[in-house]
Amino acid sequence: MYVNLQLILVYYIYEMKFFINFLLIFVLFSCGDKFSGVVIENSKYNNYIELIINSYENQDLSYLEKYLDNDVRSTYSTNVLFGKRSVLNTWADDYYFFKEIVMNEREIYTIFNNDKSFTTILKGKWDAVGKFSGNKVSIPCYYKFIWKNDKIVEFKGYFDNYPYYLETKESYDEN
C-alpha cells in the first residue's frame, strides 16, 4: 500500500494548527502532485454526516442547516442549486412524498485533499415508502460533501430519481 506520508503529516499538523502554511508550501511543492488526497480514519466530518443523516431520517434538518455553507453549490442529476435554502427545500420535499426514510448500508469516509479541503463520501441505500403509491423503494446512492472551514461548500448527489418521479406522478394523479 503506497501512500504519501507527507500529506498525512500535513493533515495531522493541520489539525494541530501547527506551522500550517509553511508546511503546506514545503510539502506540496516538494513532491509534485502524484497524490491528491489521503483517506482519514475517524474524521470528525464522518460524525457530522452521521448526525445529518440520522436527524434527516427523523425529519429534522437542523444539522444539515448547521453545517451547510450559505453559498453551498449542490449538483444533482440534471440541475445545480445554489444556496443553503434551496438544498434544505430539496431535502424537505422528500418528506412530502415518502415516509419511513432510512439510509441503510452506510459507508462513510473522509479524504483530506491537497488543497486543504476535506471531502466526505457517503454511500448507502436510501429506503423509503411512497406516501401516494405505497411502494417500497430502495435506491443505491452516492453523495459527495466538500468541506471548508467546517462547512459544506459543495455537495453532489448521484442516485436514480426514477422512483421519485413515479411518486410525484402518483401524487398528481391523486390530486
Binding site: I13, V38, Y76, T78, Y158
Partner: protein
Amino acid sequence: MIIIHIILKQKNRMMRISLLILSLFFISCNNGNTDLGTLSKIDDLSKKSILIYDDFASNNFKSLKDKFSDDVKINFGNSISLNFNEFVQFYSQNELFFKTLKLDANDVVTLRLNNLSSITNHEIKFIFNDSEYGTAYYVNALIELTWTNNKISIVNIYFDTTLFKSYINFN
C-alpha cells in the same frame, strides 16, 4: 506520528522547526506502508479505466473483457445487475442509443484502500440527443469501479434513469 510527538515535546521553537524540516527531508518523496488510503488522479488504474471508453467506441469487447474479472457485476443503480455476457447483450440491444451517447469525464480518481482493494471513480456527464424533438440532454453520473487483482470486479453506475427510460429497456 512518533516524529510529531517528538517534535511537539521540544520546548524550544527553533528546535521544533529544525526537527520538523529534518524529518520532512527524511521522508521527502518516499512512499511507505500505512493504515491509511490515498486518492490519486494519475494512478495507473485511472488510466487503465479510461481505456474502457475506447473499447466501447471501437466495439472491442475482447479488450473490454480482459479488463473485467470473470465474475464481474455491472449494476445500473437499482434497475438492473448484469454479468459481462448479459451486459454485452444489453449493449447490443440498445446499440443505436449507446452509439449516439457522448461521455464527458469531469474527474477520474483512484482510491487505494488499506485492505488492498482499489476503487476508481469517474464523475461523468452522459450527453445525448433526442432527434425527434431536436433537444440535447445531459445527466450527471458516477461510475464506480472496484478492482480485484488489477481487474474490474464490480461496476456501480449511480445515475438518474428517468430520462433514459424512453430510449433504453432496462428490463
